[in-house]
C-alpha cells in the first residue's frame, strides 16, 4: 500500500513538472482529442493511423507549431464502445479541444448529435456518415475525404475507362459485408447501372467475414466481368483469397479503401499483384511531408511507433487528417485571430482551397456546403511491394453522390425534430 502511495505521489509530481514545462512555452497549446479503437474492431487501422497523426504533430511542433502555438494531441482508447467515446468526447471538450476524432463509425454516430449541439468539430476521414458531406445539415462534421458513395463512383469510372467498348452488357458484382456499411454503396451502383447499362448483382457475406466461401461460389456462377469488394479488417484478405480461389483475375477485382500493405502481405505480396483499390490519400514514402517526417521525427528518434510503418496506407491517412486540421487552424488564426475556438476552426477548415499537403492529397477544397472536399480519389494497384497509382486524382459522377447526400441529410434533419 505504501509503495502504491509513493508511486502515485511520484506520478503526481511528474505530471506537475510536465504541466510546468508546457506552461513555459510562449503561446497556449491547441488541443486535439483522438479517442480511437485500439483494442476491439478497428485494430487493423488504428495503430498506424494514430502513429501518423502523432508523427505529423511532432513534425509540426518541431517546426514551431501552428503560428507559434504548440499542438497537443490527446490519445485514448474507446474499445469501439459508444459510451466510452462519449466520455472521451466530454473530457476533450472540458479540456478545451477544438477538434475531435474517433475513427469508428459507431462511436462517431453516437457523438454526432452532441457535437452538432456543442459546435465541436469532428473529423470523420473515410468513415462515419456519408451524408455528413452536407455542411449545411452537419455544420461541424468534417469527412474532408471522398465518402463511400464517391468511392463507388470512382471505381465504376475506372472500370468504364478500362472497357473500351463501353459498359453496356457488362456484368459488375459487388461482394460486400452484410451490414449497413456494406449495403451503403448499393444505390450508387444501381443508379450507375441504369445510366451506363451494365448488369449489377450483389453478393453479401455475413459479418464479420471470416467465412465467405458460399458467397464466392455463388459469384462464380454469375461470371461477372468486374468484381468489387466492400469490407474492412479481417474480412478483406479473406475476400481476396476467395476471389483467387474462384478464378477472379485480380486486375479485375477492386476494393473499397480499406485494404492495405498488411492485407497484401497476409495474402502473399507476390500473389496479390494486380489487385485494385480506391485511394484518397497517396501511400508510400514519396510525398514531401512523409520525407520531412522521416528526417525531422523518425531520424531523431521521436517517432510514435515502428519506423517501418511510416508511409503505409493508414499511416498516411493519419498524417493527412492532421495536415488538413493544421491548414484549417492556420487559416482560422490568419483570418479571425487568437485564440483558436471550435467555431473559428470550422470557418478555417471551410476556407481550405486546393490543399494537397505537398502531394499527399488530391486538391481538397472545403466549403460550408461541401465537407467532402471535392470527392477526388484515384485507383491504385498492388505491384508486389507497394501501391502504384493507375489513374489521376479525379471525382466522378458527383451528381449521383450529392443526390444521395442531400436525400439522406434531409432524412437526418427530419428525424431530429
Amino acid at each position: 500500500m505504501r509503495k502504491m502511495i509513493t508511486g502515485l505521489a511520484l506520478a503526481a509530481g511528474l505530471s506537475a513538472t510536465a504541466l510546468a514545462s508546457a506552461a513555459a512555452q510562449d503561446k497556449a497549446p491547441i488541443k486535439v482529442g483522438t479517442a480511437l479503437d485500439f483494442t476491439a474492431v478497428y485494430t487493423f487501422v488504428t495503430a498506424e493511423y494514430s502513429q501518423g497523426q502523432r508523427d505529423y504533430i511532432a513534425l509540426l511542433n518541431a517546426k514551431g507549431g501552428i503560428k507559434g502555438h504548440p499542438v497537443e494531441i490527446m490519445v485514448v482508447d474507446t474499445g469501439n464502445q459508444p459510451q466510452r467515446g462519449i466520455e472521451a468526447y466530454e473530457r476533450f471538450k472540458s479540456e478545451g479541444a477544438v477538434l475531435v476524432d474517433f475513427l469508428s463509425t459507431p462511436v462517431s454516430r453516437a457523438v454526432v448529435p452532441r457535437a452538432l449541439g456543442d459546435g465541436m468539430n469532428v473529423v470523420t476521414m473515410f468513415h462515419g456518415r456519408s451524408d455528413a458531406a452536407d455542411g449545411k445539415v452537419f455544420p461541424t462534421i468534417f469527412p474532408m475525404t471522398p465518402a463511400y458513395w464517391s468511392q463507388a463512383t470512382a471505381i465504376v469510372k475506372y472500370i468504364e475507362g478500362q472497357e473500351k467498348g463501353g459498359l453496356k452488357g457488362k456484368r459488375i458484382a459487388l461482394v460486400m459485408i452484410d451490414s449497413p456499411f456494406g449495403r451503403e454503396p448499393v444505390p450508387v451502383f444501381e443508379e450507375l447501372s441504369k445510366r451506363l447499362g451494365y448488369e449489377f448483382a450483389t453478393f453479401p457475406y455475413p459479418s464479420p467475414g471470416n467465412e465467405q466461401s458460399a458467397t464466392w461460389t455463388q459469384l462464380r456462377r454469375d461470371k461477372p466481368d468486374w468484381t468489387i469488394i466492400w469490407g474492412a479488417g479481417g474480412g478483406q484478405p479473406v475476400s481476396v483469397r476467395e476471389a483467387m480461389r474462384n478464378g477472379v483475375p485480380l486486375d479485375h477485382l477492386a476494393s473499397v479503401i480499406w485494404i492495405s500493405e498488411t492485407d497484401a502481405n497476409i495474402i502473399g505480396a507476390d500473389q496479390t499483384k494486380g489487385l485494385l483499390r480506391f485511394e484518397g490519400v497517396a501511400s508510400g514514402k514519396d510525398p514531401a511531408v512523409i520525407k520531412a517526417i522521416q528526417q525531422e521525427v523518425v531520424a531523431k528518434g521521436k517517432a510514435a511507433g515502428p519506423a517501418e510503418k511510416v508511409g503505409s496506407t493508414y499511416y498516411n491517412i493519419g498524417v493527412a487528417s492532421m495536415a488538413l486540421f493544421a491548414e484549417g487552424a492556420r487559416r482560422a488564426l490568419d483570418k479571425e485571430g487568437e485564440p483558436l475556438t471550435p467555431a473559428k476552426l470550422k470557418h478555417g477548415l471551410e476556407s481550405i482551397k486546393d490543399f494537397t499537403a505537398d502531394g499527399l492529397l488530391p486538391p481538397v477544397t472545403i466549403t460550408s456546403e461541401d465537407h467532402q472536399g471535392g470527392g477526388r480519389g484515384r485507383i491504385a494497384a498492388w505491384d508486389g511491394s507497394k501501391w502504384t497509382a493507375k489513374s489521376d486524382w479525379s471525382a466522378a459522377y458527383q451528381d449521383i453522390v450529392w443526390n444521395l447526400v442531400h436525400k439522406s441529410a434531409e432524412e437526418f434533419k427530419a428525424s431530429g425534430k
Binding site: G7, F38, A47, P82, Q83, I86, P180, E411, F412, K417
Partner: protein, 357 residues
C-alpha cells in the same frame, strides 16, 4: 453499533414489513437520494453526462435483468435486443406524434410482448439451453433491425431521438435528461424493492430454487416464469428508451449488439444476483471501471511512468479490468452487494466480533 437495532419494535404488520426497519439504513437512503437529486448542481458537467447519467440508466437495465436472472433464476443473453425493441419502438412512436409519457410505456409493452414470445420458446428449455435460445433472440432482433430500413432509419442506419416533452415541459439539456432518467430509475428501483415482499417475488424465488418443488407447493411455474419474462422485458424496453432519449440521443444497431447483452449479464452477476443494490454496483463496475482505469493508465503514461507504445498502453486497462472482475468473483462469488452486506454485518455488532443469536 452503527446500525443500531435497539428500540426498533415491530408493533404492527406495516412496521414489520417496512423496507428499511433500521434508522441508519433509512438515513443512508435519504442521503443518497438527496445527493442524486442535487448532483446536477454539484457535479461538473463531464461527470454528470458521461458518468452519472449512463450509470443510472444502466442500473435501471441491470435491475430489469436482475428480476429475471436473480429473482426468477432464468438466464437471458438477449437483453440488449429487448432494450433495442423498446428504444426503436418509442422513437418511431414519438416521431409519429405520440406523447413521450405514453410512448415510453408503449415501447416497454412492445419489448414485453416480443420478449414474451421468446419467453414462451424458452419455457421449454432450462439452463444452458435457455442461454442459447435467448442468444438466438439477440441475433434475430439484430438482423431484423439492420435489414429493415423502415426500422433502422435508412442507409446510414441511425435514427436521431426526436425532441420530446414530459408533462408539457420540453426536455432539453443535460439537467432535464438526467432528471427524467433518475425518475424512471427510482420508480423501477422502488418496484424491485417491493417485489421481494410480495407473493409474486416469493413465487419467483421458489421457481428459482427448484421449479418442480415450487409446482408441488402450488406455484404455477409456467405462469410465473412468463410473468418474469414479461416484467423483465418491459423494464428492459424502458431502460432502452432512456438510453436512446436521455443518453445517446440517437440509436444505431451497434448500441444494442451482443457485447451489450453480455455486459448486462456481467453487471447482474458481478453486482449480485437478486440484489437491488447489486444492480447499481454491478453497473458501476462494468460500465465505469474501464473508463476510470483507462484514464488512470493514461495519466500515468503522460507522467512518463509507463514507457510503452500506445497499443500496449490501451490493453493495460483491459488486463486490469479482467483481473478486477476475476478477483471480485473469487473473493466474493455472491457479488459486490454481498461485500457491502459483509461490511454492514461487521459494523452491526462492532466492537464485538459476533452477534448474539
Amino acid at each position: 453499533m452503527f446500525y443500531r437495532l435497539a428500540g426498533i419494535r415491530h408493533t404492527s404488520y406495516a412496521a414489520d414489513r417496512a423496507l428499511w426497519p433500521v434508522p441508519v439504513d433509512r438515513w443512508q437512503i435519504g442521503v443518497l437520494l438527496a445527493l442524486a437529486l442535487a448532483a446536477p448542481f454539484v457535479l461538473p458537467n463531464l461527470y454528470l453526462s458521461s458518468y452519472l447519467l449512463p450509470w443510472i440508466i444502466w442500473s435501471t437495465a441491470a435491475l430489469g435483468l436482475n428480476l429475471l436472472m436473480g429473482w426468477a433464476g432464468q438466464i437471458h443473453l438477449g437483453y440488449a435486443a429487448v432494450m433495442a425493441i423498446g428504444a426503436y419502438g418509442t422513437i418511431h412512436l414519438v416521431r409519429a406524434g405520440m406523447p413521450f409519457e405514453l410512448a415510453i410505456v408503449a415501447g416497454g409493452l412492445l419489448s414485453a410482448v416480443i420478449g414474451l414470445v421468446f419467453g414462451f420458446a424458452a419455457l421449454r428449455v432450462k439452463g444452458l439451453y435457455l442461454a442459447i435460445s435467448t442468444l438466438a433472440m439477440q441475433y434475430l432482433v439484430d438482423w431484423i433491425i439492420s435489414h429493415v430500413p423502415a426500422i433502422s432509419g435508412g442507409s446510414q442506419a441511425t435514427l436521431q431521438a426526436p425532441n420530446f416533452r414530459v408533462l408539457g415541459l420540453p426536455v432539453a439539456g443535460d439537467f432535464a435528461r438526467y432528471y427524467v432518467a433518475l425518475a424512471v430509475c427510482l420508480l423501477v428501483t422502488l418496484f424491485l424493492l417491493n417485489v421481494g415482499r410480495t407473493s409474486f417475488g416469493r413465487a419467483l424465488v421458489a421457481v428459482r430454487e427448484k421449479d418442480f418443488a415450487a409446482a408441488i407447493l402450488g406455484v404455477n411455474t409456467f405462469y410465473f416464469k412468463l410473468l418474469a419474462f414479461w416484467c423483465s422485458s418491459f423494464l428492459g424496453g424502458v431502460s432502452g428508451v432512456l438510453l436512446a432519449f436521455c443518453y445517446y440521443r440517437a440509436v444505431t444497431p451497434e448500441q444494442f449488439n451482443l457485447d451489450v447483452s453480455i455486459q448486462a449479464v456481467a453487471m447482474v452477476i458481478v453486482g449480485g444476483m437478486g440484489s437491488v443494490m447489486g444492480s447499481y454496483l454491478g453497473a458501476a463496475l462494468v460500465l465505469l471501471a474501464p473508463i476510470v482505469l483507462n484514464n488512470l493508465v493514461g495519466t500515468l503514461a503522460q507522467a512518463g511512468a509507463l514507457p510503452v507504445s500506445q497499443e500496449i498502453l490501451s490493453h493495460i486497462p483491459l488486463i486490469l479490468y479482467g483481473g478486477l472482475i476475476v478477483a471480485f468473483l473469487l473473493f466474493e462469488p455472491l457479488g459486490l452487494a454481498k461485500v457491502y452486506d459483509n461490511l454492514r454485518n461487521y459494523f452491526l455488532v462492532w466492537p464485538f466480533r459476533h452477534a448474539r443469536h
